[in-house]
């Protein structure tokens, strides 16, 4: 397994919101990618946006603009 690193993670209520996040981040050159929701957040399935910690401010700005589909923010070592 790869070495764990600090990541800034966004969770979503729906897959639609997750893909909207991916699209917006791509358009605005915000770093990160979609990953399975880490078990540190919740067991089960779903998608989360994983970004390097230094991208936190930009990621929060994109996610906040998306509105109600965004569930929460986390800083994790995963």
């Amino acid at each position: 397994m790869r070495e764990k690193t600090p990541r800034f993670v966004v969770t979503f209520h729906t897959t639609t919101a997750a893909i909207a996040m991916e699209q917006q981040c791509a358009q605005q050159n915000v770093a990160g990618r979609l990953i399975p929701v880490p078990r540190e957040i919740t067991a089960g399935c779903g998608m989360a946006w994983s970004a390097p910690p230094q991208a936190e401010q930009a990621v929060v700005a994109v996610a906040t603009a998306l509105g109600e589909g965004v569930a929460d923010f986390y800083t994790l070592v995963i």
Partner: protein
């Protein structure tokens, strides 16, 4: 074969639809189940389809576009999930059974249904809507266009009546989505139900509903969603709330390509061509002495449908003669529109329905006119 049964399903699709379906079947994973390449690719395709449909219909955003197997499923979700069973509901004589049967089932649970009656020419008196509004009235459910006559309802006018009285406005756009302009916000539509395989030119097995911003709908089905797996209840958030089970990703990919084709071509261009064919056919048949045409053709905007009968012949026999002797596909019988046939007085005879698409030609129309002349001899 000449295909004039486009109100049942469009047979000719833009080539991009076939390409999209084939590509999806070769490389699409499950949209919303995982984050590997093919799953994400599928989720992106479905998301893009939602965006295109939201833009086409003036829906709030992609999250308010819910995919279903067809318009019937969408209407069942809307009618059974957004209206309380003790409500009074207003509908019309123009409706298809996909509206009528969910309403009748709701009436068995306590709802009462008031029908705005159609006149002999198949049109409605709009003033009648307000006569049926009582304190317990909660919703208006109606079609955008009759699948039998092609007559179009003035949704903006009905939407204003609905919202003046605080009623939910649910629209069945099965015959118009993809060919007539629909703007949920301008028309005051709370829930728009559509099918993908008719004038939207997508594959069968696709359809959906678009919800207004503040509309709440109980799910008809619950089950796997790809999110919140340990919750015992269906997630609250749209579109997941109303999309239990794996979506028809292959079909949605085709539908998305079709919507792009329609948007690129332009609704006005598509509608103008279909209207030209319909008018040409109508002008031909209305001069034939043994033919009765149903519906109102005075309105500028109507769906590209001409329903007719030849003398007192069984409509099924005429449609069969057209198919067997001339290779012309039409639809006879009752068209799942029992109240409309009752209003027109055609319950016993049915009618032969000719319905035109963007891919039909004037030559095909002229051959159908010749065929009808010969059959009537």
């Amino acid at each position: 074969m000449i295909y004039f049964d486009n109100a049942a399903t469009t047979l000719q699709k833009p080539p991009c639809v076939f390409d999209a379906v084939v590509a999806a079947m070769k490389g699409m994973g499950n949209p919303a189940r995982g984050t590997h390449g093919t799953a994400l690719g599928a989720a992106r395709t479905v998301y893009e389809a939602r965006c295109r449909i939201a833009a086409l219909f003036g829906a709030p955003d992609a999250q308010h576009v819910v995919f279903t197997a067809n318009a019937t499923e969408a209407l069942n979700i809307a009618i059974c999930g957004a209206i309380e069973p003790n409500a009074n509901i207003i509908s019309t004589d123009l409706e298809h059974n996909s509206v009528l049967r969910p309403l009748f089932r709701l009436s068995k649970a306590g709802a009462s249904i008031s029908f705005v009656r159609a006149k002999k020419d198949g049109t409605l008196r709009y003033d009648d809507f307000e006569q049926f509004i009582f304190p317990e009235t909660k919703a208006i459910v109606c079609t955008h266009a009759s699948n039998l006559t092609g007559n179009v309802l003035d949704l903006t006018r009905i939407g204003k009546i609905a919202h003046k009285h605080g009623l939910l406005f649910i629209v069945d756009a099965s015959q118009t989505a993809g060919v007539l302009p629909i703007d949920m916000q301008k028309m005051g539509i709370d829930i728009l139900c559509f099918t993908g395989h008719k004038s939207l030119m997508g594959p069968q097995g696709t359809g959906g509903l678009c919800l207004g911003k503040h509309v709440s709908v109980r799910p008809l089905k619950v089950g796997g969603t790809g999110v919140k797996s340990f919750s015992k209840t269906q997630p609250e958030e749209l579109p997941t709330r109303l999309e239990a089970g794996t979506l028809n990703g292959h079909g949605i990919a085709g539908l998305s390509a079709a919507v792009r084709f329609i948007t690129d071509t332009g609704l006005a261009t598509i509608h103008a061509h279909e209207t030209m064919l319909m008018r040409r056919f109508y002008e031909g048949v209305r001069q034939m002495p043994d033919i009765t045409v149903y519906g109102d053709f005075s309105a500028e905007t109507r769906a590209a449908i001409v329903a007719l009968n030849l003398r007192d012949y069984d409509s099924g026999a005429v449609a069969d003669e057209l198919a067997q002797q001339y290779g012309i596909a039409t639809r006879s019988g009752a068209h799942c529109a029992p109240r409309m046939h009752a209003a027109l007085g055609t319950e016993q005879q049915g009618a032969v329905r000719f319905s035109f698409s963007y891919f039909n030609t004037t030559q095909e129309v002229d051959r159908a006119l010749v065929a009808l002349k010969e059959i009537s001899l």
